[in-house]
């Protein structure tokens, strides 16, 4: 071989191949079968004579249920905020050089993951059982700044918030810890070498990078939390599930009200996944070579591809098809 000509060669004859991706007829059959199956299942549920559609329709937008939905959303939001704040503190403590902080963090996680949430809810809900008064003062002296009846401060809502938030913090701290560990140590060194303090480094350099790893499992946890609020039934916090079960205890339409509650949970979960998606995108920024596409961009892309495919099939002459693929 000697020096080759520098101009781009035109499509050569015999040595050419237009690459055709494998076709997958099985996929389309499977897809069709699947759609049929799901449709069949939904239909069989819907047409079941044990289910009273009128009741479902009645209660889906019943005022009591809607109030429950609001409370569920509020409780979830507040407890997740509380949990995240505690979790970050716990994770930082767990990774600190200070052995006391490490042990405290470990002990918290052990205790709150180890005992059932139900029991923690009962504990907070019935704190009055153990302590009639809550007071803020200097221990072992008689100085009290503030003192009040436990049951007036720790209302069911507050009890529920504390129970859910503090329990969740234990789980979330493990997630945050894994996230912080996932950030390359070189980042800390670079930040320190610029004179950043440990706290500033954490806030501006480490946490933003850890978010990418933290968000998906925290999405899991938020969705769990949405449903865990139902356990507050035990201390009579009237959220969605509790309301539904009160109504069904009255009219004995248990199945219908479970469907109503499920429908709302499904809606809330779906709504939650939107901010998660965009948060993942935001914190994924700069992580890969290219931004992940939004569903909207994907849809457009797919449409373009299908159009191209159709156009290719339309050209029965393979040579034409090839030119198309090249352009």
């Amino acid at each position: 071989m000697t020096a080759t000509d520098m101009t781009v060669k035109p499509t050569a004859g015999t040595h050419d191949v237009a690459a055709a991706p494998r076709s997958h007829p099985g996929r389309w059959i499977a897809a069709a079968a699947l759609v049929a199956l799901c449709a069949g299942w939904v239909l069989s549920l819907w047409s079941n004579q044990n289910i009273d559609h009128a009741t479902i329709a009645d209660f889906l937008f019943d005022g009591r249920i809607l109030q429950g939905v609001l409370l569920t959303v509020g409780l979830t939001a507040c407890s997740m905020l509380l949990a995240t704040a505690i979790a970050v503190a716990l994770a930082v403590m767990r990774l600190s050089a200070n052995p006391v902080l490490r042990v405290v963090s470990w002990g918290y996680t052990w205790f709150f993951r180890g005992t059932p949430l139900l029991v923690q809810i009962v504990f907070w809900g019935y704190l009055g059982l153990l302590y009639e008064q809550i007071s803020l003062g200097i221990p072992f002296t008689s100085i009290h700044f503030f003192s009040a009846n436990t049951n007036t401060i720790v209302t069911p809502f507050v009890a529920g918030l504390l129970a859910l938030g503090m329990n969740e913090a234990a789980y979330a701290s493990e997630i945050v810890r894994a996230g912080l560990l996932s950030v390359d140590h070189g980042q800390v060194e670079a930040a320190h070498s610029l004179g950043m303090s440990p706290a500033y480094t954490l806030r501006r350099i480490i946490v933003p990078q850890a978010m990418r790893v933290i968000i998906p499992p925290m999405g899991n946890e938020t969705i769990s939390m949405l449903k865990n609020t139902a356990l507050l039934q035990l201390i009579a916090v009237p959220e969605l599930y509790t309301r539904a079960s009160w109504i069904s205890a009255q009219n004995l339409s248990q199945v219908e009200l479970l469907i109503v509650a499920s429908a709302w949970y499904l809606v809330l979960t779906s709504v939650l996944s939107v901010p998660q998606y965009y948060l993942e995108r935001r914190y994924g920024r700069g992580a890969g070579r290219s931004m992940p596409t939004t569903p909207w961009q994907q849809a457009r892309h797919t449409a373009t591809r299908i159009r191209t495919r159709v156009a290719q099939v339309a050209h029965t002459n393979p040579r034409n098809a090839r030119t198309e693929a090249d352009s």
Partner: protein, 258 residues
């Protein structure tokens, strides 16, 4: 030399989206030959190398290794069009093509010896004892007998790259592809890896090497190919291409590297 070339690329084209990276590459590598691929960053060297073992799918053109069309099956009904192979068939083709990556890509959860024996045992179904004894022999060849039990994280870059070479050799490939095997190494560690490659070339292995080590290319290569912007600008014996480049681009590139 031997009548048919081991590797034959014909009008290989590849684009990523609108970006045409390979614009029609034609190459031949004879059996036992060492070919060095030179070229500036972004010229498509890595992409071409990856097309040879179908890590990238070509969009047009054909690559034959030992007479077999890589990655595609001829489509009997429609002349000129070929369909992609099944994953199993592709895997079978890749077994006879060893590849060494710039960033080593050793399996971090396996020891040096484990890295070498994984594919012979799991893919080629050699017996465990055979694979291990052959693995130790390969480690000896790359001078790492003492590190058989070490995990990659505990090896220096040069040691990791030598394990990577031994790993590829363990499948007894007909062809070895090297993608800048020394450019992630500290200058002091480069020598060890190059000397292993030199031995390999002497033993008659067919090799395609993407490299910036002009000295190595001059000493070891039978053929040097200079690529730029997705095409082959010039090719020939090292003495010809390196010491007496005909094209302006080749000359400019060599000036910047030397």
């Amino acid at each position: 030399m031997t009548p048919s070339p081991l590797v034959e690329a014909r009008n290989v084209r590849k684009h990523f989206g609108a970006h045409h990276v390979l614009k029609g590459i034609d190459l031949e590598v004879r059996r036992g030959e060492v070919m060095c691929l030179l070229g500036p960053s972004g010229s498509g060297k890595s992409t071409f190398l990856r097309c040879i073992n179908h890590l990238e799918k070509v969009d047009g053109g054909r690559i034959y290794v030992d007479g077999e069309l890589i990655g595609y099956e001829e489509h009997a009904s429609r002349k000129g069009r070929a369909r992609e192979m099944k994953p199993k068939q592709i895997a079978a083709q890749r077994r006879s093509i060893g590849m060494v990556f710039q960033r080593f890509n050793l399996f971090p959860h396996l020891t040096a010896l484990g890295n070498i024996t994984e594919a012979p045992i799991g893919v080629a179904h050699h017996s465990r004892a055979d694979a291990r004894s052959r693995g130790m022999e390969l480690l000896r060849r790359v001078g790492l007998t003492d590190h058989a039990g070490a995990y990659p994280a505990h090896l220096s870059g040069g040691q990791q790259q030598r394990v990577a070479i031994a790993r590829a050799l363990a499948m007894e490939p007909k062809l070895m592809l090297f993608d800048e095997p020394t450019s992630a190494l500290d200058p002091e560690l480069v020598g060890d890896v190059l000397s292993v490659m030199r031995d390999l070339a002497r033993s008659g292995m067919t090799m395609i090497v993407v490299t910036h080590e002009i000295g190595f290319a001059r000493e070891v290569a039978d053929q040097v190919v200079f690529m730029d912007d997705g095409i082959v600008v010039e090719s020939g014996a090292p003495s010809r291409v390196i010491d007496d480049p005909r094209h302006e681009r080749t000359r400019a590139f060599l000036d910047s590297v030397l």
